[in-house]
């Protein structure tokens, strides 16, 4: 069975992408990956769930900061956050999400779905 790291490889491969986090609807971190593994520890913050709640079913969102860009995409089970440098080819990230995320949804309900969310070190 493919791991989440393998599943999201195409998004991580887009130039400028620094990392991604997959959240459940409750704000639980299901998967995280950063180009520099020591970059960030989202587990150290407990307000992700509140932000997810505030998104209130938004399909997708872009937040442009002075140095970075955060793309947020709703999945069937929660949200995917993709962090990239300013100037990264954001359209490629969106395209990859269009291609990949339906497969993420298709895997829900299949036997062993819980194993799919095995945390990848």
């Amino acid at each position: 069975m493919v791991t989440l790291k393998e599943f999201f490889a195409d998004i991580m491969d887009v130039e400028g992408v620094e990392g991604l986090i997959l959240f459940s609807r409750q704000g639980e971190i299901l998967h995280k990956e950063f180009r520099n593994e020591e970059s960030f520890e989202p587990e150290s913050r407990d307000w992700w769930g509140l932000f997810i709640y505030t998104l209130d079913g938004i399909e997708e969102a872009d937040f442009v900061f002075r140095k970075k860009w955060l793309y947020i995409r709703k999945t069937n089970n929660g949200y995917l956050f993709v962090l990239a440098k300013r100037g990264a080819p954001v359209a490629m990230v969106r395209l990859n999400c269009d291609i990949l995320l339906p497969n993420l949804q298709d895997m829900e309900g299949q036997k062993g779905w819980g194993r799919f969310f095995r945390r990848n070190k």
């Binding site: 960030f40 407990d46 307000w47 509140l50 505030t54 938004i58 969102a61 140095k67 970075k68 962090l83």
Partner: protein, 347 residues
């Protein structure tokens, strides 16, 4: 953590004896003693008390009146009534008034300890959680439509607050002498807490009208306001000090851009043409989302939030610019989003 037991009796010898007995019992209790109901009320308003043990016959405010007062104002605090003069009718009366237990004097210390332990056990029968943010957990209670009393202890200061839920609705809150929304805002702003859940709602009145989400957002806003006064925003280029992300300053004050809407319109119009968008307007209902996105940006060391684009799968999408009130431009879903964001995020 030790539980505070307030004992109220005009018999000073009995007070001293109970204090000695409970203080020495496995280090579980911190015992406060007072000799009448009026002093007890003063203590309740200023200190965190877990259980009250009161005599019935006392000068000034007697035990029944004290019990009624506590049942109304501090419904989460259980009361054990003790008396030498009681009858079966007395027991019925005090239990109807809300007493959790009734002890006939003279009684052995063991009986009081057993009663205290039973009461304190019931307060956690719904479970205990440690090191959690109350805001997060309480939203689960709302979703599950729970009826319960949640006792919350802030990990750093050990302040204790109580939240009352009925079928998922937060109906009341108490923090020392604060009640209702004021108490709720304070409790909801705590970050790391321990929670104990009792499977019944002890509040009798509905003092809170707003919904939980609105209360949480308001609590955050008040907390950020307090912080931005205590800790001015760290200068740019000072990453990693951990404070940036805690200060949520949503753009500048109103009035810094005399006509920010016009500036936005002028930037957007060349890309979309005159009719490709709804004229910019200010809408503070987006402030919370923008504030939280700003915090996330600080966490990722991304710098100031410049602009946002929101697709709700509706006919229009929304461009957002942070400000005292968020500036909103409604655009078609198939607008040149990236060009617009690039234009709007220029300094």
């Amino acid at each position: 953590m030790k539980k505070s037991i307030l004992i109220v009796d005009d018999d000073k010898k009995l007070l001293a004896s109970l204090k000695e007995g409970l203080d020495g019992h496995k280090g579980k209790y911190r015992v406060l003693t007072v000799s009448n109901g009026r002093k007890a009320i003063n203590v309740l308003k200023t200190r965190d008390v877990s259980v009250v043990v009161t005599d019935l016959k006392m000068p000034e405010i007697n035990g029944i009146n004290l019990l009624s007062y506590i049942s109304t104002r501090f419904p989460d605090i259980p009361v054990i009534v003790m008396t030498a003069y009681g009858t079966s009718n007395t027991e019925k009366l005090v239990r109807n008034e809300g007493a959790s237990d009734y002890l006939k004097k003279p009684f052995k210390l063991k009986a009081l300890i057993s009663s205290l332990e039973g009461i304190l056990k019931r307060q956690v029968e719904g479970g205990e959680l440690h090191n959690v943010s109350p805001a997060m957990f309480l939203q689960l209670l709302e979703v599950e439509q729970r009826t319960c009393t949640v006792r919350v202890i802030e990990n750093k200061s050990h302040k204790e607050g109580v939240l009352f839920f009925k079928e998922g609705f937060l109906i009341d809150a108490r923090l020392s002498g604060l009640f209702g929304e004021k108490a709720a805002y304070e409790i909801l702003s705590w970050e790391k807490t321990s929670l104990a859940i009792e499977n019944q709602c002890r509040a009798k009145k509905k003092r809170i009208q707003g919904d939980l989400q609105a209360l949480i957002l308001e609590a955050m806003r008040l907390k950020d306001e307090k912080r931005s006064v205590q800790h001015p925003e760290a200068p740019e280029g000072a990453p990693g000090d951990g404070r940036d992300e805690e200060v949520i300053v949503v753009g500048g004050e109103e009035g810094q851009e005399p006509d920010g809407l016009e500036v936005v319109r002028k930037r957007v119009a060349p890309i979309l043409g005159g009719n490709g968008f709804v004229r910019p307007y200010r809408d503070s209902s987006w402030n919370s989302l923008v504030a939280q996105a700003t915090r996330i940006g600080a966490f990722f060391e991304a710098g100031d939030l410049k602009a946002g684009f929101i697709n709700r799968n509706e006919q229009n999408s929304y461009l957002l610019l942070p400000g005292h009130q968020t500036i909103v431009v409604e655009v078609a879903l198939d607008c040149p989003r990236d060009r617009l964001l690039k234009m709007l995020s220029k300094d």
